[in-house]
Structure formats: structure tokens, C-alpha cells
Symmetry: C2
């Protein structure tokens, strides 16, 4: 799993040439050994690369991956409770509090009282939250299409199926 935006940088030395030449220092080619064939390592590298491009693509709506998935879940399940979102997404309830506070501060989601169980509140998107989510989905769709372009027509489906088997 280690990070590694494929960057075994190799600079080429300009032989015994004089110093007037741009003297770029040689770094011998790095041997990755068995690492090149590790699924865990490839998974990590792919995830880092994907996240980097995701953040670029979603810059306009300024939604981190988890924030985006929380908005989707609230939108798909209006009135959902915090604990339910946490269980569905694998988040700690303690960490969800500041995350939701931020979404509420930005006017994207709200906690509403009036649930039978008075310990909980019900979560909803605001109209603004719905609009931002709509735009986020457009940007995200474009991003997924750029993935499909890399993976080929069947590649994306194949990848999804294979990843499912790891969960």
C-alpha cells in the first residue's frame, strides 16, 4: 500500500561533457522488485492518483469525498439520522459531528428536530444543498467519464466488479 505517484525520476547525465552543458545529475534507475506486482501497492497508488484528480474535478463545489458521499446519502434518504449515515459510510459518530457542522455552516444540510426518538435529529438537504449536489454530480460524472476513457468501455465495469470482491 505505500504511496507513489509513479515518479522514479531519472535524470540523465551529460557524459564527460564540460560544465557549459546543462549538467543533470544521474540517478541510477530504481529497481522496484516485487513491489511492482503487489495488488495492495497498486491499489494504493491508484487511489492516491484518483483522489488527486477527483479533488481537481470537484474544486468548483469544494466537496471532499466524504462530504460528497454524505450529501448523497442524505439526499437519497431524507430524514436519515447521524448514526445511520455513519454506519452506512463506515465513519465514527464522533468524527461525523464536525463534518456535519461544516455542511450546516455552509448551508448545505440541516439537523431538524421532531423525531419520535428525541435523542436524534433528522437530516435534510437545504434547497441550496440540493443545488450544490446537482452540480457536484455533474462534475463527478465528467470525472467518471475520464476514468472510463482510461479504463476502456468494459474496463470500468470489470474494475467495479473486481473491487467489490475485495470488500
Amino acid at each position: 500500500m505505500s504511496p507513489a505517484p509513479g515518479s522514479a525520476r531519472r535524470k540523465s547525465r551529460v557524459g564527460g561533457k564540460a560544465d557549459t552543458e546543462v549538467a543533470i545529475r544521474t540517478t541510477r534507475p530504481i529497481n522496484f522488485g516485487p513491489l511492482a506486482d503487489f495488488v495492495g501497492y497498486a491499489l494504493r497508488r491508484a487511489q492516491v492518483a484518483a483522489t488527486t484528480r477527483y479533488l481537481e474535478a470537484m474544486q468548483e463545489v469544494d466537496l471532499r469525498p466524504t462530504q460528497f458521499s454524505v450529501l448523497i446519502l442524505i439526499n437519497e434518504n431524507p430524514g436519515i439520522r447521524q448514526t445511520e449515515v455513519c454506519a452506512a459510510l463506515g465513519l465514527q459518530k464522533a468524527n461525523f459531528v464536525p463534518l456535519l457542522n461544516e455542511l450546516q455552516r455552509r448551508g448545505l444540510a440541516v439537523r431538524k428536530a421532531g423525531v419520535p426518538d428525541r435523542r436524534s435529529s433528522a437530516l435534510y438537504l437545504t434547497p441550496h444543498g440540493e443545488a450544490v449536489l446537482k452540480r457536484a454530480n455533474e462534475l463527478h460524472t465528467a470525472w467518471e467519464q475520464s476514468l472510463s476513457a482510461r479504463l476502456g468501455p468494459q474496463g470500468r465495469t470489470q474494475l467495479l466488479e473486481l473491487l467489490q470482491k475485495l470488500i
Copy 2:
């Protein structure tokens, strides 16, 4: 990519039955909407699941993914410099310092002086480091085999190829 060890927990209510029954509270089924078809989300979930199992598998040698990959790289490229390892694995040189300190403290790797460029030192595994790496490779191979079992014979190769296209 949001976390989510597939855990949309659904408890089933025992209809209108009396309280003598184990009263499990209903949580309505959560609708994941488009999230279920996102490559980024699947990538994240698979990576989290894989890392969790990796850590279990490697418990005996106590090597985090990055530590493991650093040991492999030093072993494959004896005398490699810190900057080269960082470039190859996509690490910040600043973060590499405490990481290598820890490997050195545990007697797995060493910085040796005597390089032409006196700003650098050359990295090597100790005999103990080599032995630990050997054991780590055994444990890791077993883990990769458990992945292969999930993915099917061609699945692992397919997955590696698809992940490469994302990098």
C-alpha cells in the same frame, strides 16, 4: 473517496411481538443511490478493506505498508539515497526522516557515510533487516494469495492491469 467498510447495518424488527422477544430496532434500509456505482468510492472501500487485512497479516513483523515498501526498495537498490526512495514511492523527504529513523532504531536499516556527495548517505538493510524482510515477504505472499482467492485466477492480473491505467 469516502470510507465505508460495507456496513449498511440493517437490524430487523420483530413485528408487533411482545417485549419478551429480543426487540431489535429497525433501521430502514439505506439507499446508497449513485454512490454504489462510483469507481472512486469502490476504490476507497477496497483500499480500506485491503489495508485492514494487510495489517492483520503483517502483525508478526509489525511493518506498515510504507515501511515495508521502503525495506523492499533498499533491499533491491543497496546504497540508494533518501531522495531516491522518496521520489520512487511518492513520499515527502521531510516525512521520510522519522520513518527511516524508526527503521534504524529497530535495527532494520542503516545510513552509511562514504558517498562521493557528502550531503547524502547510502541506505542499506542490516542482516536483521534482511531476515525480517524475508519473513515479511512470506507473510505478504500469503496475503496476496488470499486476494487471489477472492479475485479468481485471472482476476488478480486483470485488476493489476486496470489499476495501472489509473496511475
